[in-house]
Structure formats: C-alpha cells, structure tokens
C-alpha cells in the first residue's frame, strides 16, 4: 500500500545521538564531511571510520539500516573505483593490456575513494537517522538566522519546509483515497504502457491539486486566526539548548580532526 512509504529516514530511538541538540549535530556532520576530504592517508581515513563506527554504536540505529543507506550509491562507488583503477598509474604494475594498466597506486586510490564516499554517506545519513525532519528544519532555521541581515526571510523558508514535510503523509493518504475512488469507477491505473499510465493519472492528480489548494487556504486561514505574523518575536515551544553531551561531542570531533592532520603528517599520502 502506498501509505507505507516512510518520509525521510528517521529511526525512532532515544540514544545519546538522538538527544543531542540538532544544531550541534548539523554542525558536526558538516565539519566531519568537510574534513573527510582533508584525509590524505589510509590511517587518517581509518580514524574517521573508527569514529563513525563508534557514533553508529552510540546511535542505536541497527547496522542493517546503515547498510541500506549505502545501497543506492553502490553503482556510483563501483563506477569511480573502476575509473580510478584504470586512470591512476604509478608504483608497481600488476597487469597490462594495451593502454590499460593496473598499478599499485591505481588500486590504492580506488579503495581510498570508495571508503571516502561510503563515509560521507554514512555520516550524513546518521544525522537524518537520529533527527526528525522537523527538528532538522528547526536547526537549519537557527543556523541560517544570520542571513536575515541580508533580508532573507529565514523563518518563512523554514516554516514552508516544516509545513511541506507535515503534509506529505496527509497527501499520500489523499492520493490513496482518490485512487480508490477512481478505481471504483473502473479506472485502470496499474496497467498499460507509459502513455496510457500517465494519462490514467489525470483523474488522480486533478482532485489532488484541488484539495491541496483547499488545504493550503484552510491552513493559511487557521494560522491567521491564531495571529500568526511570521517569525518576529515568536518564541518556541521546544527550546534548543546545548548541554554537556553536545560539548563532549564537539571536543571529540575536534580531536578527530586534529588526529587527521597528525596522521596525514606522519604517514604516506595516498592521493
């Protein structure tokens, strides 16, 4: 059934990572992603991998879920690996056929790149696994609030995003209902070629559009009735507060970053 699709990939839990301030989580994820690119040797990359593994253990998200987040990019990983093996040359040559040469450096680079991509994806999906979409938008709103100097309405943007997320399940339910109603009138939505199928969607999308606009008007009206005037002077129900655990996480990440540079310095660079 269509209503079983989950939005985002939040994994319900109450772990240390779940309870962290979303702003701190967002910042630290950003820092880590940036500094994964600063890794030059296998050892500094291994340090980040170790840290990520520990973070996964602390997050209570099952390893199976983490692996699932890698699944969609397997092809990209394989593709870059193959390109790297073929186009990077240097060191000992293992295999040569016409202009194709597989060398030690090529293989090292391929492995390095693959691990780097996997780390990037795992680190960022750890953020979305442990943070609900709403608190994520909250965090983004707060982090972008300096932009209001440039007259960018950060609050409005965040509110739009929150509302959009809020209405996804509602609209999925609505699609389900409309599809059933049209199927009851003999509409065939699941058979036929591409053109027949897209044509068959018209009776679903028009009512969906109409009801989305109706909902939008109703919501705007309800918000106006409750004196919503935008972000100015608005307080929040859920106050975000930095706690000891957030600073602990911050120091750990800083230590990891320092470790990256130290290891880069002492060990041979792969790229």
């Amino acid at each position: 059934m269509i209503s079983e699709i989950t939005i985002g990939q939040y994994y319900t839990g109450d772990s240390l990572l779940h309870r962290m301030d979303p702003r701190m989580k967002f910042d630290l994820t950003f820092l880590l992603v940036v500094f994964v690119f600063a890794c030059k040797s296998f050892f500094s990359l291994a340090l980040v991998a170790m840290f990520t593994l520990v973070a996964i253990l602390f997050s209570s998200v099952p390893l199976k879920m983490i692996l699932r987040s890698i699944k969609p990019i397997v092809i990209i990983i394989l593709f870059t690996a193959v390109l790297n093996i073929i186009y990077t040359t240097g060191g000992e040559t293992y295999f040569k056929w016409r202009s194709i040469e597989i060398t030690e450096k090529g293989i090292n680079t391929a492995i390095f790149m693959a691990v780097r991509i996997i780390l990037l994806v795992v680190i960022s999906s750890l953020l979305t696994y442990t943070t609900t979409p709403t608190s994520l938008t909250d965090a983004i709103e707060r982090l972008l609030s300096p932009l209001s100097v440039f007259h960018i309405k950060v609050h409005t943007l965040a509110m739009m995003m929150t509302l959009a997320l809020r209405f996804i399940p509602t609209l999925i339910e609505e699609i389900d209902r409309i599809m059933n109603a049209q199927k009851a009138r003999g509409a065939e939505l699941e058979t036929g070629g591409l053109i027949a199928r897209s044509k068959a969607l018209v009776p679903v999308f028009i009512p969906l559009m109409v009801s989305s606009f109706r909902r939008a008007y109703e919501l705007a009206f309800a918000m106006t009735c409750r004196c919503y005037t935008g972000g100015e002077g608005r307080t929040r129900m859920k106050q975000m507060k930095l706690r000891a655990r957030d600073f602990l996480a911050l120091f750990t990440v800083i230590a990891v970053i320092a470790g990256i540079f130290v290891l880069n310095h002492f060990f041979e660079a792969v790229i």
Binding site: K183, R185, G186
Partner: protein, 289 residues
Amino acid sequence: MMAPALEIKNLTHYYYKGTKNQIAAVENVSLTVEKGETLGIIGHTGSGKSTLISHFNGLLKPDEGEVIVDGKNIFENKETLRQSRFKVGLCFQYPEYQLFEETVYKDIAFGPKNMKLPSEEIDRRVQNAAKLAGVKQELLNKSPFDLSGGEKRRAAIAGVMSMEPEVLVLDEPAAGLDPAGRLDLIKMIRHYRDVTGCTVIIVSHSMEDIARIADRVCVLANAKVAMHGTVKEVYSKGDELRSMGLNVPEITRIMLMLREKGIDVPADIYSPDDAVSAVRNYIEGRRGV
C-alpha cells in the same frame, strides 16, 4: 433459487500483516445481501465499516474468506475482478473530492467510458443517472468545481450510478450535510432504489438515516458483526447498541421510555412525524374505550 446479489464469507482483513502491530480491521465477517434488498451497515468510527466495503469490489483483497458477487468469486481471475468494479458501484465518503473532469457531464461519463460502452449508451446512462441523482440538466455543461457542495455530492454519486451497478454501496452519503440536505439525499437514494430495483448497501453511523431507508441492519463493532436483523429487531435493543457506542434515534428512545412507563405505543418509530401520529392514535384509542 436466485443467487444473492452479494455474499461475504468469513472475511478477515489484517492491517500491518506479519508485523508485531498486526491488527484485524475486519474479522470473520459473513454477510448475505439478497437482490433488491437495502442493507444498512452501522458502526462506530473505526469499527471496520470502510475496510469491509472496500472488499465488495475487490479494491482490497481479503486475507481470509471470499467475496461472491452474483454467484461468482470476484478474485477468481482478472476479468471477474474487473467486472466486480462495475457490478458493485462503490461510492466513498465525501465523493465530491473525486470530481476531475471539465464538465459534470464528462465526469458522470467517466465510469461508463471505462466500461467501453458505445457513445449512445454512455449518453443514455449519463442522462438517466443525472436524473436519478437529482443533478439538474443545466448543470451538466458546467465545471464540477463551480457547483455548490450539495450539487457536487449529487454529481459524484451520479458518477457511480451511471455505471448502472447491480449493487450500489454508499459510504456515509449524507456526511457533512445539514438535516434538510440529509433527508433530501436519503429520499433520493430511496427513489433510486424504487425506480431501478437495485440492491443498495448504505454505510452510516447515523441511526436516523439508516432507519429511513434500510430493510435490514448489520451492526459492526470491533471488526466483527455484533448484530444482524431487521431494523425493528436491531433498534429494539437500545442498551446493547449503547454499549457499542451507538444510539437509537432520539425519538425512538422516547418511545422506548414511554413503553417502560407502561404506555403502549409502538417501539419501531424513527421519525418525529410518526411519533406524533402514534401518540395521537394511543390517546384516541384510550378515549374510545
């Protein structure tokens, strides 16, 4: 013997099947609806009414049990399933949200068109359904989105009637209408039934509406059939109904209270008008003695 219009045998449907949240939305429900009969299905919110009726035309597949329309199991093959869509016309709650065509005429014609009927036949059906559902002739060339709420509802119901189903299933057809609108709509459905002789199944939580139209009533509670019988039989068990979160019509309750006081008025009274004449009869009867 004539096959019943619709037969449900030991139907069970689970939600979240196979997970730890598995719950039966409909549990072991059996039901027989004879041709030409009007059945009312009553139940509290969440009693499984809507899930049950979605099986009648194969929108949902039962986890256990069978759905037999006109003597044939509808899940036998693709063709029987497709035919069941046209034999059992299902009209969901708030059907006006399914309108989509440029004109009311085209929208009512959507069902017959899907049946691949010749255009003269489609035209005949649209005109006939519009008349039966009380959609005025001048509205047919208007956009359905320009209609009033009540007109939209009728246009949408006409869109199901135009398939000329053997069984018409209506889920809360009068929901959200004012009392006068409700009464009009029930009258319209009654007229439709009398003219076409079709089987009608009407789902509602309004005991008044059901009493005005149904021959037999089936009460659903907690995914199971809790009571089954004629309107009179079911409505006389006020206490049991109350325990299921349902209430007999207010006027019926007054009649039952009068009877408890030893005043011999009939218990099967479901409208204030009938009550007035019943009480008048009673008083006149006493004077006559």
